[in-house]
């Protein structure tokens, strides 16, 4: 039995945890739920030894223990699979998994045969298709995530922490993961499972603790909760059924074409893609991870070069060699990879919102402080971004609010064409819906939106047209009545027409 009691954690002025508690029993999968910024990740990090609490105690089987660092955590039988991975990209699969846990022979040297066996058994269990000597950086993101979990399991922990690991996984990999989790449950291992995907929670979890603004609101068996209950405990509000969603009406008759991509090829990911976006249209790009979606978006932005084809933007062939050119001509780009590609963590909230305005215009022009401030303040107010102060660094905000910061940055610029690359990755339901509403409003006002997403529901609810990518080609273009989850999933698997599904199944049989 693992227990956290009355834990407090502050980051300067920001309270991340406030008298939070958690208890996990052996042989259960415990869902840790909450919006972005509710303190889930901080809880995980405390157990993993990455963050030291300001107050509170940690108990294992009733006796208090101290976790000061990652080593303490490991010694106590806790292993963690992190959302942003703890693998070393330039080391091999084998070395990553065994790091610090190498089997030794009588002489104290690494036992090569034993380690081979550990690795092959582990890769088989997780159905990971790679060579133990492959460098981690050469693997697909989803394979890396599976490895991250496998590595944690290889430590034979008593408590396994899984922090949003399914965010980057494909459907079949998630099923493998769940079956391993069920086996581990039989072995009596306790697991804490953090996710934003509610269907997974009901599928695999036994109990749940729901968090809101750093406090643990309620703990109980999964069966006692409905989806509405969970949303209620996460946000403090019952989902409002009567509230009218922003309706985005779509008609492309005679409207101008803002973006026309013709036969585009980008080596090696994209082959011969054509798509078209009209003014005020929300165009979706679907598909499994790594099918060329990010490359297409970056080519339109001018961030990477393309080999063949043509991009016609706003009536003229676009030859943008740099994103700065594209931005000058009215494009905007919102990345879901917020740490790497979007947020300026050391700069203030104000500067982060202002970044779009900063990028566009005369280099040595005066930017009046007062106007900057009111520009940022109105964005914060309009999009309900939870901040301490405009002068706090962006890193003091929770993930969801950081993402809203990036969205606000570009919406406030009113670009002609807004490109979004998986903008709601790792963003909680609540903030995600808010972002969707904002996008729909913008489209109604005439903004053209091209959005790539790994979430099917997001595309289905948001987009007028969905282009589904499969291995760098468009495998389907779904509009109107064709926009169904079944057709979307089929196209994501590379089956563009019904008869093809049949023929593939026959071939397998």
């Amino acid at each position: 039995m693992f227990e956290l009691r009355g834990v407090d954690k502050r980051f300067d002025a920001v309270v991340a945890l406030n008298n939070a508690s958690l208890n996990v029993k052996p042989g259960e999968v415990h869902a840790l739920l909450g919006s972005n910024g509710s303190g889930k990740s901080t809880m995980i990090k405390i157990l993993a030894g990455l963050v030291n609490p300001n107050a509170g105690e940690i108990l294992i089987d009733g006796s208090p223990v101290e976790i000061r660092n990652g080593y303490d955590s490991r010694k106590l039988g806790i292993a963690t699979a992190f959302q942003d991975l703890s693998l070393i990209p330039t080391m091999s699969v084998r070395d990553n998994i065994l790091l610090g846990n190498e089997p030794k022979n009588a002489l104290g040297l690494v036992d090569q045969r034993a380690s081979d066996e550990i690795i092959s058994r582990l890769l088989e269990r997780f159905q990971i298709d790679c060579d133990p000597d492959d460098y981690v950086q050469t693997l697909m993101p989803s394979t890396q995530t599976m490895l991250e979990v496998a590595k944690a399991v290889a430590l034979k922990p008593r408590l396994l922490l899984l922090d949003e690991v399914t965010a980057a996984l494909h459907y079949d990999e998630i099923q493998v993961l769940f079956s391993v989790m069920r086996e581990l449950k039989e072995e009596g291992i306790a697991m804490v499972y953090v996710t934003h995907r509610m269907n997974e929670v009901f599928e695999v979890c036994d109990r749940t603790t729901i968090m809101r603004s750093g406090e643990s609101v309620i703990t109980g068996p999964m069966d006692d909760f409905s989806l509405d209950d969970i949303v209620y405990y996460m946000t403090g509000q019952r989902p409002d059924k009567s509230k009218k969603d922003v309706v985005h009406s779509h008609s492309d008759g005679g409207r101008e074409i803002v973006l026309d991509v013709k036969n585009l090829s980008i080596f090696p990911k994209v082959h011969d893609i054509s798509l078209r976006a009209h003014k005020g249209e929300i165009v979706g790009i679907g598909g499994l991870q790594g099918q060329g979606q990010p490359e297409l978006i970056r080519a339109i932005l001018g961030a990477i070069r393309y080999e063949e084809g043509e991009i016609i933007y706003d009536g003229e062939p676009s030859t943008f060699k740099l994103p700065s050119k594209a931005v000058k001509n009215g494009m905007g780009f919102i990345s879901g990879e917020r740490n790497r590609e979007a947020v300026f963590p050391a700069r203030t909230v104000l500067e982060n919102i202002l970044a779009g305005k900063v990028a566009k215009g005369k280099t040595f022009a005066y930017m009046p402080a007062k106007a900057n401030r009111s520009f940022a303040q109105s964005a914060v107010d309009k999009y309900n971004i939870v901040i301490g102060s405009l002068n706090h660094p962006a890193s003091s905000l929770s993930g969801g609010n950081q993402q809203k910061l990036v969205v606000a940055r570009w919406i406030a610029m009113q670009p002609k064409l807004l490109l979004l690359d998986d903008p709601t990755r790792g963003v909680d339901i609540h903030s995600r819906l808010e972002i969707h509403e904002i996008l729909k409003e913008c489209a109604n006002d005439g903004m053209t939106i091209l959005i790539s997403s790994s979430e099917s529901e997001e595309l289905l609810s948001l987009c007028d047209v969905i282009y589904v990518f499969y291995e760098g080609c468009v495998s389907a273009q779904l509009t109107g009545e064709n926009k169904t989850p079944e057709k979307l999933v089929a196209a994501m698997m590379g089956m563009s027409e019904d008869h093809e599904i049949v023929s593939t199944m026959e071939a397998k049989a």
Binding site: F344, A346, S395
Partner: protein, 329 residues
Amino acid sequence: MNSTQSTLTLGQRSKLFMQNSPARMAFIIAIILYAVTVMISPGSFNASAIGSIVMLTLLLSIASAGQTIVLIGGGMDFGVGAVMSSAAILTTTIMNSQDGRFFPLLFAALSMGATVGLLNGICTVKIGLPPLIVTMAISNVITRMQYVLTQGSPMGYASPSFIKSVTSKLFGLQFLPSIILYGLIIIPLVFYLLNHSRFGKQVYLLGNNPVAARLNGVNINRVQILTYVFSGMFAAFAGMLGAAYMNAARCQIFDEYAYNSLIAVIIGGTSFSGGVGTYTGSIAGSLVMVVLSNLLTAMGLAQPTRNVFMGLIMIVLLILYNREKKVRQ
């Protein structure tokens, strides 16, 4: 918030203060160091001594202006000293004790600084070598050029009126050297560039997260090259003023400013990793450097011993300053 503060120990609180407002902290350190100097040698508390502190602080502040911009943008310029020395030699050679040659000189010196900066910038950005190596290599070339072009002994003196414009006392007051007038032009200019122009804001974004800055539409190569160009120009201007202060010039006369400007900027709270820093901090850091050097002189230490102490104190200051601030990860 108040309750949070009160639960902290004095040590924690002073550490927070140091990390949150390094510029103020540097001013306080400078005042303490000066107080110690006066205690050791009471004779050093006089108007002309203060005047010389003001003079040297402003000189270093102007030399550090570009360094600050470069460092915030995620680079580093080790060529400040060489550019200053070259500009000083240009000053004495072009002026050659003659009045009325200020503007041709200004044009020549700034062009030289800008050219060197452009070279530094292009080599760092386009070739992708570490800035420390690029700027050192280029500054080495410039330093050797000083010897080649002057046969090792530069001629001439700064013009009398230029010397007067830097070293005369305002209102006859010993502690107000007229270099302050130049400071009144340069310092607001730097503040405008860094804090109020689009360029400055782009520099901060670039330094903090270059990948995001690029995808966000900042032309990062151009901005980065411009930071080096400004650094070269500010260093060249500082070299001109330095020549007026020293009257004559010799090769490598201001080379130590490469190191000193870097340390002053870092003491002022600008981060080595880019994206964080202020020019106020750099001015405060310059003051600390000058006062510290004064203190060591007042203690009557020989030059080598002074250098040893200077180095040790710098290491301590850098350790105190460059601790990463704890934030939510």
